[in-house]
């Protein structure tokens, strides 16, 4: 019973943390982007304000059941993936139910949200949404290839499909995977550009071309919920990368309160540092067309992924 209570509490805590961190990261990105463009930019908590405003819209439009469901699907995808991801290495509060899932499961679960949103966007009947969705899905096929390759490299390197085990193995050997298998890391990093959909891979939403792509018809509480889901999801993605390539955070032997807080801080530093890579890349990049983006992913990143697999085999 106590076990269950801790689990539920841990799940809630994880969710709150992921949400907060994800929203703040979004704010940071906006702020930083503004600074780079020589602007003052919004406040860092601007995303919370936006969310609050969206949720306090008094009328909301839905085009049907799938439209209504789309944000729910996204929330499901974000939270489920989050729950099955070990946030901190071996910590009492944050492992959630991660040991009941593995990498392949997460890989598939990650798609759940995109597909749900695509269905919702499809139901709106807005051609812009549908075009955005086709672009998004096509691009997904692009970046999944190097991503999967790097994951395979890791899995065969450590002979496990559990993220926890990969983290522990890195901690034990003391070498992060981004150094022990740099090729796989690079492949995954390129894939990450696609995942976060910053420039040059922002053809999906393509502001000013497709209205806002798949989310064209979503407003109010729907958009707000999507925003929440996206924030959580981006935290999940970052943590996943940190766990896989940067040894995660925390120490499995030390699970005290202080150690946990330190671990969280380390996690935040690592994730933020990682997050900045696609953001920085985006600042200096124009936009790729979809087929260019796909080819981009299938060229060097995939080659790197292959080398990564070979590297892992050796």
């Amino acid at each position: 019973m106590e076990d269950l209570a801790i689990k539920i509490l841990g799940a809630v805590l994880t969710t709150i943390m992921a949400f907060t961190v994800g929203m703040f990261y979004g704010g940071f990105v906006r702020k930083l982007t503004a600074r780079v463009q020589n602007r003052r930019g919004p406040v860092v908590y601007q995303n919370f304000i936006d969310l609050l405003k969206l949720q306090s819209k008094t009328t909301n439009i839905a085009h049907g059941f799938m439209h209504h469901m789309a944000p729910i699907w996204m929330i499901i995808a974000s939270l489920t993936t989050l729950m099955f991801l070990p946030i901190l290495n071996g910590n009492l509060w944050f492992p959630n139910i991660s040991f009941h899932g593995d990498l392949i499961f997460l890989l598939y679960m990650m798609v759940f949200g995109s597909l749900g949103m695509a269905l919702g966007a499809g139901q709106t009947g807005n051609p812009n949404s549908a075009i955005g969705v086709t672009r998004g899905l096509s691009q997904m096929v692009g970046f999944e290839i190097p991503f999967v390759m790097s994951l395979i490299a890791l899995m065969i390197q450590y002979k496990t499909t559990s993220i926890q085990d990969i983290m522990i193995a890195q901690n034990e050997s003391g070498i992060w995977n981004m150094f022990s298998n740099p090729f796989a890391f690079l492949a995954a990093l390129f894939a990450m550009f696609g995942m976060f959909r910053y420039s040059p891979f922002d053809i999906v939403g393509a502001p000013a071309e497709l209205a806002s792509g798949p989310v064209s018809e979503f407003g109010g509480k729907y958009l707000g919920t999507m925003m929440t889901a996206n924030s959580i999801f981006s935290f999940f993605k970052l943590t996943l990368y940190v766990n896989l390539f940067m040894a995660g955070a925390g120490n499995i032997n030390d699970v005290g309160i202080v150690a946990t807080l330190i671990a969280i801080v380390i996690l935040l530093i690592k994730t933020f540092a990682l997050y900045m890579v696609p953001v920085f890349y985006g600042w200096v990049s124009p936009r790729y067309r979809t087929e260019q983006a796909i080819r981009y992913f299938w060229a060097w990143p995939s080659a790197l992924g292959l080398i990564g697999i070979v590297w892992a085999l050796i």
Binding site: K57, T58, T59, N60, I61, A62, H63, G64, F65, H68, P71, I72, I75, I76, L79, T80, F84, I97, H100, G101, D102, F105, Y108, M109, V111, L115, A118, L119, G122, Q123, G125, N126, P127, A130, I131, T134, R135, L137, S138, M140, V141, E144, I145, V148, I152, M155, T160, T161, S216, E217, G220, K221, Y222, T225, R289, T290, I294, R295, W298, I309
Partner: protein, 623 residues
């Protein structure tokens, strides 16, 4: 009377009666077909015990029928799906012509598949196999579309397959002097070291039905052009007969080490195994690429079937416990979800008149139950958790990563599986989402007899997602029958040999809890201010679309992807086969010209032949 004969007799009688009643009323005819299949299923699952056999002679050939745990897996697919499909087709075939012939062949296909499952000897196996082939041929060309091309292609490839199988069978007879499958296995007929032709020929035979590259070219049109209620069986169950055979042969090619892990005996089967696995993976990729370019939902599903069968082939070829289990699990689940999807396509075809996605869209509000089925089946098809499709895919990937040494195969399979999301989305979007156009304004939901089987299948998909153990049980028993030992399984925990696992119950719990919470939140929040609008009420830069204006984005749907993957679309197996075909045809035209129609020429032939024979007589006859 013996249950084996009784089951077949009931089915045959059902076929004959529904044929006779076809002239009177298609509904009665269909009901008879359904009743016969359903009662045969009931008999099968209640009366027949596993591992019962009967033997009887036919001439000098000893025939043996029986049911073992392995056949039981496929009986589940055939009879389960058969009953549902026949129930479905009562309404589907309503008001169509020649329903008598349809139901006759429909029941005959199921009879022959049950017969294949019963067969424990090659002769009855082959006989039922061929009955299955020609009765399905008659159903494929039932719609009278492209009869020549589709029918001839199907028959040619079926014949190639069947005759390779027949060659292998007579070779087994020649080498081991037996027609019994168990005896042949005992004698090592499938063992590579003894004779490599027999297993290869058998595999070719089965690969045709399993639509493996390069023998798949018959499949897309055959699947999409037959009546949908038959395609449910065709793609869902009949292709599994190929899987049945392949599993039976492939597993025997391996030998087992002390821990009962499959290992390969020597070099040449590795080539075979890898070839087959790669063929399967390439099939999956190519078929997926073609599937996502289709504008017709039926064709899309047809290609998708080929792709899914490719995964199954990969799983069987890898041949470890986990991968074979994955393959068999996928086989069953594919039967369920592809059956459901073809039923959906059929329902749309019946209600909206076409499944061309450029013409139909926005049916979700009109056909909610159909959409629900399509949604569930597509989620399973895409392999997204938490449904049954995911379980199979997971096991397949895990086995590929953990147990095979061909990691590039994983990439290929994964590529296909990721690209599959595209066509999965296309199917749902094309038929059900998007704008509600005027053309489909009056579409109604399909009749209840079509809805019920579809809903049953969707529920099955959910159940197999949460408790895959329900299917693991028969599969594990079946695998033990064909040679694996100690096949372990768990009700809802999937595990690989590295000791990692996924617990489907936790997945379900998480998803359901989050779903309920999010659904309540999102629905109740601002309930008053939430309103549902028509699909014409969209932001179109202020322009107001009129009723007849088609706003649906359907043509060249995945154009960017196609551009990116252009090199992969350049060649197609179909073209190569067509070239071979036309080459042969011109050759045959040449041989035909030997018969000039001129009596003098014929006389010269005779004389020349006589002279030749007289010259060669000693070398010919005195050796």
């Amino acid at each position: 009377m013996n249950s084996f004969f009784l089951i077949l007799l009931i089915l045959l009688a059902g076929a004959a009666i529904s044929f006779a009643l076809g002239k009177i009323s298609s509904i009665i005819s269909g009901t008879v077909a359904f009743l016969s299949i359903a009662s045969a299923s009931v008999l099968f699952f209640t009366q027949l015990k596993n591992n019962t056999y009967i033997e009887f002679p036919l001439g000098e050939i000893q025939l043996q029928w029986g049911i073992d745990s392995f056949g039981y897996i496929f009986a589940l697919i055939v009879l389960g799906l058969g009953s549902l499909a026949s129930l479905y087709s009562i309404s589907y075939m309503q008001n169509k012509e020649r329903t008598g012939i349809f139901y006759f062949n429909f029941v005959l296909v199921i009879t022959s598949m049950v017969g294949i499952i019963f067969s424990q000897d090659f002769i009855s196996f082959f006989i039922f196999w061929e009955i299955m082939t020609w009765s399905s041929y008659l159903l494929i060309i039932f719609n009278k579309k492209d009869v020549k091309e589709i029918g001839v292609k199907y028959m040619i490839f079926s014949a190639i397959g069947a005759y390779s199988m027949l060659t292998a069978i007579v070779m087994i007879k020649g080498n081991y002097n037996t027609f019994l499958i168990s005896d042949a296995i005992q004698a090592g007929a499938f063992n590579f070291t003894n004779n490599e032709y027999i297993p290869i020929l058998l595999l070719i035979g089965f690969a045709v039905k399993a639509a493996t590259m390069p023998l798949h070219v018959w499949a897309p049109k055959a699947y999409s052009n037959s009546p949908m209620s038959f395609t449910v069986i065709f793609s869902g169950a009949m292709s599994k007969m190929g899987v049945l055979g392949m599993a039976l042969v492939l597993v025997r090619i391996f030998t087992f080490n002390a821990n009962n892990e499959a290992i390969l005996p020597n070099f040449s089967p590795i080539i075979l195994q890898q070839t087959l696995a790669w063929l399967g993976a390439i099939t999956a990729v190519i078929a997926t690429l073609y599937a996502l370019m289709q504008d017709d939902a039926k064709k899309l599903l047809a290609y998708s079937s080929i792709a899914q069968l490719g995964y199954i082939t990969v799983g069987l070829a890898i041949g470890t416990k986990l991968s074979v289990m994955a393959a068999l699990f996928l086989a069953i689940v594919h039967g369920i979800f592809k059956g459901a999807l073809f039923m959906v396509a059929g329902a749309v075809e019946r209600q909206a008149g076409t499944t061309d996605m450029t013409k139909v869209s926005g049916l979700i509000r009109k056909m909610p139950f159909t959409f629900f089925t399509a949604l569930i089946a597509i989620i399973a098809l895409a392999g997204i958790p938490p449904l049954g499709g995911f379980v199979g895919k997971w096991m397949l990937y895990e086995s590929l990563i953990t147990e095979s040494n061909s990691y590039f195969l994983v990439i290929l399979v994964f590529f296909s599986s990721t690209s599959a999301f595209l066509y999965c989305y296309r199917f749902l979007f094309g038929l059900f989402l998007g704008q509600e156009e005027e053309a489909t304004k009056d579409v109604k939901e399909a009749p209840i007899t079509m809805i019920i089987p579809m809903l049953i299948l969707s529920v099955l998909l959910m159940v197999t997602g949460a408790y895959p153990g329900i299917l693991f049980d028969p599969i594990a028993k079946g695998m033990e029958t064909i040679g694996f030992n100690n096949v372990t399984w768990d009700m809802s925990v999937l595990g690989n040999i590295w000791g990692n696992s996924v617990n489907m119950i936790y997945v379900w719990l998480t998803i359901v809890i989050v779903f309920i919470a999010a659904f309540i939140f999102l629905t109740l929040k601002g309930l008053k201010g939430t309103r549902y609008v028509s699909t014409k009420d969209i932001s179109t830069s202020g322009e107001i679309p009129l009723e007849h204006e088609n706003l649906t984005f359907q043509i060249n749907f995945f154009q960017p992807f196609r551009r990116a993957a252009a090199p992969m679309y350049k060649r197609s197996m179909d073209k190569i086969w067509n070239e071979i075909g036309s080459g042969l045809e011109s050759l045959f035209n040449f041989t035909r010209k030997i018969y000039t129609g001129n009596g003098q020429t014929y006389a010269i032939f005779v004389i020349a032949f006589l002279v030749l024979m007289l010259l060669l007589k000693d070398t010919l006859f005195l050796n």
